[in-house]
Point group: C2
Chain length 360, copies 2
Amino acid sequence: MWGKRDDMIVHEEEPFNAEPRPAALAGQPLTPTEAFYSRNHGPSPDLDPATWRLRIDGLVDRELVLSLCELQQRFALRTEVVTLGCAGNRRAELLAVRPIPGQVPWGPATISTAAWTGVSLADVLAEAGPGAGAAHVAFTAPDVSPSVVPPQPYGGSISLPKACSGEVLLAWGMNGAPLPRIHGGPVRVVVPGYIGARSVKWVQRISVQAQPSENYFQAEDYRLLPPDAEPGPGRGISLGPLAMTSGILCPDDDDAGARLPAGPTDVIGYAFAAEGRTIVRVDVSLDGGGTWNQAAVDDPPSPWAWQLWHTTLDLPVGPAEITARAWDDTGATQPEFPASLWNPAGYDNNSWARVRVDVG
Amino acid sequence: MWGKRDDMIVHEEEPFNAEPRPAALAGQPLTPTEAFYSRNHGPSPDLDPATWRLRIDGLVDRELVLSLCELQQRFALRTEVVTLGCAGNRRAELLAVRPIPGQVPWGPATISTAAWTGVSLADVLAEAGPGAGAAHVAFTAPDVSPSVVPPQPYGGSISLPKACSGEVLLAWGMNGAPLPRIHGGPVRVVVPGYIGARSVKWVQRISVQAQPSENYFQAEDYRLLPPDAEPGPGRGISLGPLAMTSGILCPDDDDAGARLPAGPTDVIGYAFAAEGRTIVRVDVSLDGGGTWNQAAVDDPPSPWAWQLWHTTLDLPVGPAEITARAWDDTGATQPEFPASLWNPAGYDNNSWARVRVDVG
C-alpha cells in the first residue's frame, strides 16, 4: 500500500494519498496534472458529468439546481492560477519529533499549482441571493470517509465574505483539460489562499447558512490544537487561510542515497505567502542559519500562487544540510524548528525548510 | 539624557525617544496619551495650527492647499482606534545578540493604541484627483534629522491603493483631545497596520507620485537587511505592514529588582496581528516552551488594533522566565529566538516574548 511510483510518492492507495517527488515540482510555476498531489479521505466517487447536479440551498432567496451545462452557460468563464496546499504538508518533520497516529506522513510536496477553469462561486451565489442571517457557505461531497465514526461524507465551509470575494471558483477544468476524477471531477471548489481541505472535490451541494459546517472535517478535523490538547468538536483553531511556508525541491532528501557531486549545485524551491502577502526574500544556508545566501525569488504566476526560488551553493564533500526560510512583506519569517510547532494532528509545519544530502 | 521619568522610559531627550514602562500599557485597550510611545528623528517642530497649511501636489488633477479649518470642514469626520508600532519595537533583545550601533534600544512597549480623529486621506486625494502614473503617496514633514548626512526633513510614502483604502487618516485629534505637538500636532498621518514610521507627524505636504519617496527614511532607513548586508539606498525589504508580534507587559523585567511574591500571578500582555489577520491564540510558558498555558485573548477594540491577553500563572520561588507567543488565524506563530532574526538596523524582532523575574 505504501510505496513509490514514477514521480509520485504514494502514501496510501485507498483512500488515495500521494504527493510528487519534490524534484517533479522544481522550477515549474504550474504543476503538471499528473504530478499534482492528491489528498483523499474516502474512495473517489465516480460521477457522470451528464447526470451530475449542483444544489444551492439554505439561506437563499432562490434555491438552484444546476447541471454542468447550465453552470457552464449561465455564468462567466474564469481561469485562475491557484496554489493548493494541504494543511498537513511537511507533517513528516513533526512526526520525527513525536508520533502523530493515524495521519499521513506528508513530505514537502503536498502543495501544487494549477490553472483552474470554471465560474466564480460569487456569481452563482448572487443568482441564489444569500438571505438574512447568511454568514457561511458549506460544501458537501459524496465521498464517504470510513475513518470517521460513524462514516460520513466529506464537507467543509468558508465564510460568506470569502465565498463572495470572486476568487473562489467552481472548477471543471485543470491545466486546460477536463478536471480529472482524482482531482474532484466533474466539478470541485477551489478556494485560493486556504488549506486544500476547503477546496471540496466532487461538490454536489452548496448551503448558505448562519454557522460553519458541522461536518467532521470542519468541526473537528483540520484544527490546530495546543500540544497537550485532546481533539474534539469545536476545539482549536479552525484552519482556513494558509500560513507562509517554503520547501526545498531540489536537491531532495532522496538524493542522499544517490550521493551528489561536490561543487556548485543548483538549489531550487518554492515559497508561499499567506493571503494578501508577498514573499520578498528567501535565505538559504549550509550551516544551519549561521550564514545565509539570498536566493533569486520569482514573481508569483498569479496573486494566488506560490513563488519559486533558486540559487547555487558550493557543496563541500561530506554530509550537508541545506536550510531555507522565506520572508514576507511584513518582514515576518518562518519559525526555526518543527519541535516548537508540534501539534496533535500535525498541521501547519512551516518551520525552516531542510534537506540532508551526502556529497562527494 | 537617558533615564526613567514617571511611567516613561526616556531613551533620548533630543530627539525625544521614549516608551512607557510596560505596566503602563497593561490591560488598557486604549493607551492614555501621556503613556503613548514617542519616536522622533529630530526636534519636534512648533507649528501654529492657525497658519499650518497642507499642500497636496504631484500627479494630481488639482493641487490643493488646505488650512486646518478647511480640512475639518470640507471632509467627513472620522475616528478610528489604531495601534501604532515602531519597527524597532523590542530591538533591545536583538542588541543583546550583537551590537547595533546608533539605534535606540527599544523595549517591548514601543507600541500603543489610540483613538485618532480626523479625515480620511482617501477623501482628500479624491478631491485632488490622482492622475496617470500615480502609484505612491509621499508625506513630508518639517522636522529635520541631524543624524542624516546631509541633514534632511523627515518623510516617507505608502502605495496609492493603501492611501486610497479609506482607513488612512489625516488626524488632528488623539483620544478625544487635540493632537499634542509631541505626537505630530497639529496634523499627522495615521497609517493603520503599518510601521509607525509611515504615520508621518507634522505633515505639510502630500505628493502623489510614480515612485516611492526618495526620502532617506523610505529609501534607506526602515529596511530589513540580511545579517551580513551593508545598508544602502534601495537595499533590503522596505518595511510597510507590521509583522505579527506580542509582548508581556506585566510582570516586566523591572519587577526582577523588586522581587515578586510566589503563587498565582496575573500575566498580562498584548498581541498584534498583521494586516488582515486576527490573533486566535496566545500560549504562555514557564519552562521555555516545554509546556504551554493558553491565555484568554480579548477581541481587538477595532480591526486596526492590538489584542490584549491575560492569564494566571503559579510562580515558584526562584528565578523564572515567562515566555509568550501568539498565533494568527493562518495558524502561524512567532519565531522562537531573536538571534535568528538579528539584522543590521534591528527591525521586526517578533520572536517569542520573554521576561525574567525573581520570585520569593
